[in-house]
């Protein structure tokens, strides 16, 4: 018999400061980014550190842009639907079961970079945006 410690479960006190003791809020529906056309420049690709995100203002919405180790780019709406704080770009990027994810820095739920779906609750989805690189500059498009 083996009681496997559930490594995905963050035990109490796993994060510091008031946030870790806060009750986990129920997720809100993600803010729907306005649709439009055109692309917004974010930053030179060289400024985008692999496996870390930045936040850009796209049509007035905060958008998190990530670059993975294999140089793929992803963009998600920056608001963490669980905490409603605009923080996803500041999460840790990694993989879970082979899926590239970002962990919310507040309560550590994981969102698939490709689809925006929360691994902990597939009903919760963060909006995704198209990303491209033009002349060495990262650009985010309308969803």
């Amino acid at each position: 018999m083996t009681a496997q410690a559930d490594v995905r479960q963050h035990p109490s006190g796993s994060t510091d400061g008031a946030e870790s003791k806060d009750p986990q809020p129920t997720p809100a529906t993600p803010a729907a980014p306005p649709s439009g056309t055109g692309w917004t420049a974010v930053c030179p690709l060289a400024k985008l550190q692999p496996e870390r995100g930045v936040c850009a203002l796209v049509d007035g919405e905060p958008v998190a842009v990530f670059r993975t180790h294999d140089d793929r780019l992803f963009a998600l709406h920056n608001v963490d639907p669980f905490s409603r704080a605009s923080v996803l770009s500041r999460g840790i990027v990694g993989d879970l079961g082979g899926t590239a994810v970002v962990a919310s820095p507040l309560h550590k739920q994981h969102f698939a970079l490709e689809s925006g779906v929360a691994l902990e609750d597939s009903d919760v989805v963060v909006a995704t945006y198209p990303v491209r690189v033009v002349d060495g500059t990262v650009e985010v498009g309308s969803p």
Partner: protein, 862 residues
């Protein structure tokens, strides 16, 4: 239902257990229980009494309260008379209480031999919390007037309790002498060979042993101390004397009413624990079962169970008792079990005496050398629990091989070899079979769960390590894997990183893990690298590994803003510093609050403002407080000798020095410390991971405390240390913790999980039992030398500064999602959380802001 009444006289350990057992078995609520107790507090763990001079408080020792409408507990109301015919008892408050059944559980009283001077002040016995309070007060007084020399204390009696008492004196700062009439210490438990080694081992601990002599007299000397004269003419100067010369059953009540008593005292009962009156029962140390009394708690518990069964229609019987004992004295192992003195006809003794290693082991076996009858272990009793399990059972191998040191052809005794009937916890009579059943049913997969569902390990605690072994032998193994990317535990990974000298996460996961990592392993490895390789946490690849708090060197709050905490070493701050902090808070619109760690937290800072805020703070002479890191937080202090009339050492000076020494040290979890300038402990040092309390002659060091979800008191690891030894010991403690703890495991559970607990820790960091101290010292020296303020470094590095912006493509644009509101004079994030705000009107404060007069200054964000 018409409840009948059972009156219990005495609320000691056994009386308490009886109440619990009866309430458990009496499912029909047929009995109302009235407990009349002499002591002014509810039952406490007398077995652990000695820890009261160490780190346990009276509350820690208190046994579970009976919260049950059918139980009445009257404290401070001893029974003074019994009327057997009328079935009533009279209490000292003059009350008469009628009973249907009476249970006498009055325990024992310490035996004080008729030595002249035994009634003098500062002469104590060692049985109750009150006794220890008196002893502590006297010892403290003696220590505080001692001047340069150390004051002595004399313990009369060299048995198990005498040695505990001697150790208590030592912890209280006195030099203990032990006077034992028999030719050796612990004469009941050990033989001559074991006694000789024991005397040597305790002498090494600083106890002075006088065997084969008795105490002739105690007299006052002219300086207010005591002179103890021994039968061989020796005179000992002492500040206190403790009698621990055995116990006598507290059977006076029974004698007065004519209940039969045993030949050597104790209320005579049969194996049902019934006295000569059919409505009166006796249990615990006061009972003489078929003439024999028992001075241990386990037999008492068994008797409590028997009577509870009898009162609920069962047919419990007290048969025989396990008299195994283990000395719980700091650092010296002594265990004795079964027929230790080979009294059984034909018994054989197998002895192994190794004076060099300081161990003595003896097994007593049946004449065919097949069955274990008893044994004595001195110096190393690590096999005690397992060997005890074989009592009366067939041995799994040749007796000598069981006590031979490892490597000498020893087979050792594995838990697997133990029969199901083997008793693992003798205090609570829990067999291996019962534990295995609890594990197999899935009820328990951890030691705490096993304790909760079987009661094993809840009394003296000596069997707790064995519980872990039973779990392991059942194949229950909690995966130690750090996360899905690393199958190693944090400690194993640390070893690997230390041994290989790898300096980047990519290399480490490439060679020893799988995948790309996640929010568990990345910060964990970043923390290891910080303590091994050093360097700035935002250097190169290291930056992407950090949790957001470390990434922005500030604490993220619930709306995505950050809080900022400059370091105030030891809680010291100058008026200029206060003004600087105040003006920064004002200019950036930050909410300020004093933290529990004696510093000032500024809330509501936007990412973009962090560098500007820190520039101001660094210019004013502040540095990062690392409130964001899993690292040393604060060393809290009281004012100590500087200002306090009680202070005996400079607590502020030490706190500042320690905070500066360990600042920036990354660790598996946050680390907190405190320093108090005297035993009054105003800095609450014992609630810290490492707490220091000043003594007349040095510092007492306590390890493994914490507040938080599961508060813990730190345990004393060493007393009266000089400052150099103190700092060295803390250095090693911290580094050993950093190397071997699990991720997010604070020091208390870490120590608990160490096999051998705090004693093992003491061996490792004070005796260098693992031979790693030089390396621990060297690693700490590197940390101290390599320290640099993280914020100053960021401010000096444009690359690092770049990340402090809300939007890469619109630097300077504030994040529109961040809003604040004024809530009763407090600046808080917009969007209230459930449960807020506190309804001040309900508290009779009618909506008046808590802060009186001037409101908390809140400038508009700069």
């Amino acid at each position: 239902m018409n409840a009948r009444t059972v009156v219990v006289v005495g609320h000691g350990m056994v009386g308490h257990r009886f109440v619990e057992s009866l309430r458990r078995l009496d499912t029909d609520d047929a009995w109302k229980i009235v407990v009349l107790a002499e002591e002014n507090r509810p039952a406490y763990d007398r077995v652990a009494l000695s820890s009261y001079v160490g780190d346990a408080s009276a509350e820690d020792l208190t046994l579970d309260e009976h919260s049950d409408p059918l139980v009445e507990l009257h404290l401070d109301e001893p029974v003074t008379a019994v009327d057997l015919a009328a079935r009533t008892v009279r209490t000292a408050k003059g009350r008469d209480v009628a009973y249907d059944e009476l249970v006498v559980a009055t325990g024992s009283v310490p035996f004080v031999p008729p030595v002249p001077g035994r009634d003098l002040d500062n002469v104590f016995v060692y049985r109750t919390l009150e006794d220890l309070d008196g002893l502590r007060a006297a010892a403290e007084k003696a220590v505080s007037t001692a001047g340069a020399g150390r004051r002595a204390g004399v313990v009369v009696g060299g048995g198990l309790l005498g040695l505990e008492a001697a150790n208590a004196l030592r912890q209280l700062g006195l030099s203990p002498h032990v006077v034992e009439m028999a030719p050796r210490l612990m004469p009941v438990q050990v033989d001559e060979g074991g006694g000789a080694l024991l005397a040597r081992l305790v002498s090494e601990l600083g106890l002075r042993v006088h065997t084969g002599v008795s105490t002739s007299s105690i007299a006052k000397d002219h300086r207010g101390g005591l002179t103890v004269t021994l039968s061989d003419g020796t005179e000992l100067d002492a500040s206190v004397v403790v009698f621990s010369a055995g116990i006598r059953p507290a059977d006076s009540l029974a004698r007065e009413v004519g209940l039969e008593v045993g030949e050597r005292g104790g209320v005579l009962v049969d194996e049902r624990c019934r006295t000569s009156d059919e409505h009166v029962w006796a249990i615990g140390e006061v009972a003489a079962v078929k003439g024999r009394t028992y001075g241990l708690v386990a037999p008492g518990y068994a008797m409590a169970e028997v009577v509870a069964e009898r009162l609920t229609g069962g047919d419990g019987r007290f048969t025989e008792a396990d008299l195994s004992t283990k000395l719980k004295l700091l650092g010296v192992d002594v265990a004795s079990f079964g027929d230790a003195h080979a009294a059984t006809a034909g018994a054989l003794e197998v002895t192994l005496n190794d004076p060099v290693a300081g161990t003595y082991s003896k097994l007593v076996v049946s004449d065919d050398a097949q069955t274990l009858l008893g044994g004595i272990l001195v110096g190393d009793a690590s096999n005690y629990e397992t060997l005890r399990g074989f009592l009366g059972e067939k041995l799994p191998g040749d007796p000598m091989s069981l006590i031979a040191p490892a490597g000498d052809g020893a087979v050792g005794v594995g838990i697997d070899a133990l029969p199901d009937g083997a008793q693992i916890c003798s205090c609570n009579a829990v067999t291996k079979g019962a534990l295995v059943a609890a594990i197999a049913s899935g009820e328990a997969t951890t030691v705490p769960q096993l304790k909760a569902c079987t009661r094993a390990g809840t009394t003296c605690g000596s069997c707790v390590p064995t519980l872990g072994k039973v779990l392991a032998s059942c194949g229950v193994e909690v995966s130690k894997a750090l996360c899905e990317h690393f199958s190693q535990s944090r400690a194993e990974l640390y070893e690997i990183v230390m041994a290989t000298g790898l300096q980047t996460f990519s290399e480490i996961i490439g060679q020893y893990g799988t995948g790309r990592g996640c929010d568990i392993c990345k910060p964990a490895v970043a923390s290891m690298l910080a303590t091994l390789a050093g360097g700035h946490v935002l250097d190169g690849e290291s930056a992407v590994l950090q949790d957001t708090n470390d990434h922005f060197l500030a604490n993220m709050q619930r709306n995505g803003t950050y809080s900022v905490v400059p370091r105030l070493p030891g809680g010291e701050v100058t008026p200029e510093g206060l003004i600087a902090i105040g003006s920064v808070a004002k200019d950036f619109g930050l909410y300020t609050k004093i933290t529990g760690g004696q510093r000032i937290d500024m809330f509501g800072a936007r990412v973009d403002d962090l560098p500007k805020i820190w520039q101001r703070l660094v210019d004013a002479g502040f540095e990062s407080g690392h409130a964001y890191g899993k690292s040393l937080r604060t060393v809290k202090s009281c004012v100590g000798t500087d200002w306090c009339r009680y202070g005996v050492q400079d607590s502020v000076g030490l706190a500042v020095a320690l905070e500066l020494r360990y600042r920036g040290l990354r660790s598996p979890h946050k680390l907190k410390s405190g320093v108090s300038g005297c035993a009054r402990e105003c800095a609450e040092a014992r609630s810290k991971d490492f707490g220091i309390i000043a003594t007349e002659t040095g510092w007492n060091l306590y390890l493994g405390g914490n507040g938080g979800f599961t508060p813990r008191h730190a345990e004393l690891i060493a007393s009266d240390l000089d400052t150099t030894t103190l700092v060295r010991t803390i250095d090693r403690f911290l580094m050993f913790y950093i190397r071997t703890a699990d991720r997010l495991q604070r020091t208390a559970p870490w120590i608990e999980a160490l096999e051998g607990g705090i004693d093992h820790l003491r061996d490792v960091i004070m005796e260098d039992s693992l031979g790693i101290c030089a390396s621990l010292d060297e690693q700490m020296a590197r940390h101290v030398e390599g320290y640099a303020d993280e914020w100053a470094a960021v401010l000096a590095d444009p690359d690092k500064l770049e990340r402090f912006t809300s939007f890469v493509n619109a630097p300077g644009t504030p994040d529109p999602t961040i809003e604040f509101v004024d809530h009763l004079g407090r600046r808080v994030p917009a969007g209230m959380k459930d449960g807020q705000p506190t309804d001040l009107a309900a508290l009779g404060l009618g909506g008046v802001p808590i802060t009186d007069g001037a409101r908390i200054p809140m400038g508009a964000p700069a």
